[in-house]
Amino acid sequence: LPRAEAIVTALLVVICALFALRAPAAAPLHFGMLVAFAVIVALARQRNWPNGWRAFAIVAVLMTLYSTIAEPAFVAMGGSRDALLAMIDRALLAGRDPALLAERFATTRNVELFSVVYGFFIPYLWLSILLGCIGRPDAERNPFLLGLAITYSIAYLGYLFVPARGPIEHYHFAHALHGGRVYAIVLRSVAGTGGNHGAFPSLHVGASAYLCLFDLRWNPLRGMTYVPLVLLISVSTILLRYHYLIDVLCGLGLAVAASLIVRRAEG
């Protein structure tokens, strides 16, 4: 656990430093978050609080940062890097745009179906965190938190230094997406967490793949249960125009790297 705390602290320091220099309006909030986190961690250590509390602090910071760093990142970096990501995507597919290629599959039925998959990430994430942080012994909880901290922290560095809004805002598609009720819920949820931002890398893919890899090791049946979901989430992020292909690939790479680091850290 101390390693997970150190990673989150280091991430907060980087965020504070970047915002202090390039987006001062967002600096106080994150500085406050850094102080609060440091205090909680120190108190937890000093008073020997149960590990569940320290896990709660780590998860709370990681989940809060998803919304708070969104817009300040664009200010700090002076605009979005969508053009760069689109260029990499074209290079990956020999001059063709994956987002535009996926357009012909974006029927109303498919959009609705993949919205269900995309939205399912949220219960999967929170249920995994609940089971990972509370329902496990320390020997499993600590590596779980370390991997989660690594996945989110590296992804947030991507959000900070390569801010992008995704294909949905970068491309001029022939047709807007049309889905049903679930797609409408997805749209409202995205708007509620700061709009389109944080395209690179895909945390939908990175976090779900990490959770799946972790379970494949510790609880293989649960891991296997979510393998199809992770694959479908990867497809849904492209079909629903939230991510570039490079975001998805980097998300998967991030999950694999986090899993390997955790295994190595465990010795």
Partner: protein, 434 residues
């Protein structure tokens, strides 16, 4: 990896819920594996799957009469032996021995079951001298013999546990040309690896004792971390058998009577021995519900697809196995070997139907899903069955708390009595036998 080894791994891993391997075999050089033989053709598969190199099996020649087994024997590169009781031309054994010698000279590995027949006896049958003669015939080649002990939790039961124990290798060149002496030595070494009992009844209650002691009187682990390690239980069983040798039989008989009564009581309430100490704490029950309900609902979707893809094959395999198995030591063999034919046939039929009803994309997806859903459905069914059993135990104990208290008390009493008898037997130099 040969096709046969891949089939051996797939067949044994799917049939048995847990396979553990202890010890190692030399990775190269001529090698002779000698093993106990209690589970028909599965024994050969277990060894082929556990040894990290190509192994040629030996088997009775009459197996080739079955076309499916003949095909698998061809894949496995089996060396046939011609037995007197099979009324075949025994002179052909000369060719088999020449073939074995050739393979050993080429640095190959051969597996022989010196008992000559698979059986369900409580202890090993007398070793025949064939393996020793083969070994002595290869003297000077640097041949090593590895004794193997095969243990099965319940050899005919789907998803039960198994253990393969490899002993220390013997250097054949260090032995005189005395086939009888070498046979006895091999028998002694294999017997040390494969637990022996005086009777099936003795084996049964000693297994009950091992199961009871393995519970340690503690809250059972959550199902996702329930490793169900079989090796420690098998070791405990061997220790118990040794302790029983030195125990006071009359005193033990009283404990066994109480144990039988305890087991009857457990059966009456449908409670497994390991779950007597199940915690009834609401928070633990809540986590159990979340974990298992998640798998039941979400995993149920994949398992339902698996049931469509493999349900018919499972059913047909089970029916055929039931019809063709005349004894316990051929049940698993039949299930696995007929499965090798039934499952691919059902898959091909499924693919043909999907292709007829849809297009090639769905057919490809269906084909790609087959291995995943097969493994998943087996694991899921296994887990859900255990979850249902644990939930039933939980509700039984919630409704009858006095029953749990009583069972816990009797279980602890039995554990104390058993440990006391073990200590008593060890203290008495000549054993407490009366």
């Amino acid at each position: 990896m040969t096709l046969f080894r891949a089939l051996a791994i797939a067949g044994t891993r799917l049939f048995f819920g847990r396979i553990e391997v202890e010890g190692r075999v030399p990775p190269d050089g001529p090698l002779l594996l000698v093993s106990n033989h209690t589970n028909g053709l599965v024994d050969g598969l277990m060894i082929a799957a556990a040894v990290g190199r190509r192994v040629s099996l030996t088997a009775k020649s009459t197996l080739k009469k079955n076309p499916l087994l003949a095909l698998i024997m061809w894949l496995a590169d089996v060396v046939p032996f011609y037995r007197r009781q099979d009324a075949v031309d025994m002179r052909k054994n000369t060719d088999s021995l020449v073939e074995i010698r050739k393979r050993l000279r080429e640095g190959g590995a051969i597996c022989i079951f010196p008992e000559g027949v698979s059986h369900s006896d409580a202890s090993m049958r007398e070793f025949r001298s064939g393996a020793a003669r083969v070994a002595l015939d290869a003297k000077g080649l640097g041949l090593r013999i590895v004794p193997v002990g095969l243990h099965y939790e319940a050899k005919q039961r789907f998803r039960s546990a198994a253990l393969v124990r490899f002993g220390e290798p013997l250097d054949v060149d260090a032995f005189d040309r005395d086939a009888h002496a070498l046979t006895l030595e091999l028998e002694r070494r294999v017997a040390a690896l494969a637990t022996q009992f005086r009777s099936v009844r003795e084996a049964l209650w000693l297994r009950w004792v091992a199961e009871l002691l393995a519970s340690r009187g503690e809250d059972p682990r959550p199902l996702d971390r329930d490793e169900r390690a079989w090796a420690p239980r098998a070791r405990l069983l061997a220790e118990l058998r040794d302790d029983y040798e030195h125990a006071d039989r009359e005193r033990v008989a009283a404990v066994v009577r109480e144990l039988r009564a305890y087991r009857r009581e457990l059966r009456r309430y449908g409670v497994a021995p390991g779950e007597v100490y199940l915690s009834l704490h609401p928070l633990q029950a809540l986590f159990f519900t979340i974990r298992e309900l998640e798998l039941l609902v979400i995993g149920g979707v994949i398992a339902a697809i698996g049931a469509v893809q493999h349900g018919l094959a499972f059913l047909a395999d089970r029916l055929l196995t039931k019809k063709l198995s005349v004894d316990l030591d051929h049940w698993a063999s039949n299930a696995i070997f007929y499965g090798f034919a039934i499952f691919p046939l059902v898959w091909l039929a499924g693919l043909a139907i999907v292709k007829m009803l849809t297009n090639w994309r769905w057919t490809l997806l269906y084909a790609l899903a087959i291995p995943f859903t097969l493994v998943y459905t087996i694991l899921w069914s296994d887990r859900i069955a255990r979850a249902i059993r644990r939930a039933r135990t939980f509700f039984t104990f919630v409704l009858h708390r006095d029953v749990q208290r009583d069972l816990q008390g009797r279980g602890r009493g039995l554990m104390d009595a058993i440990e006391s008898e073990r200590r008593h037997g060890r203290r008495t130099p000549e054993g407490g036998r009366s």
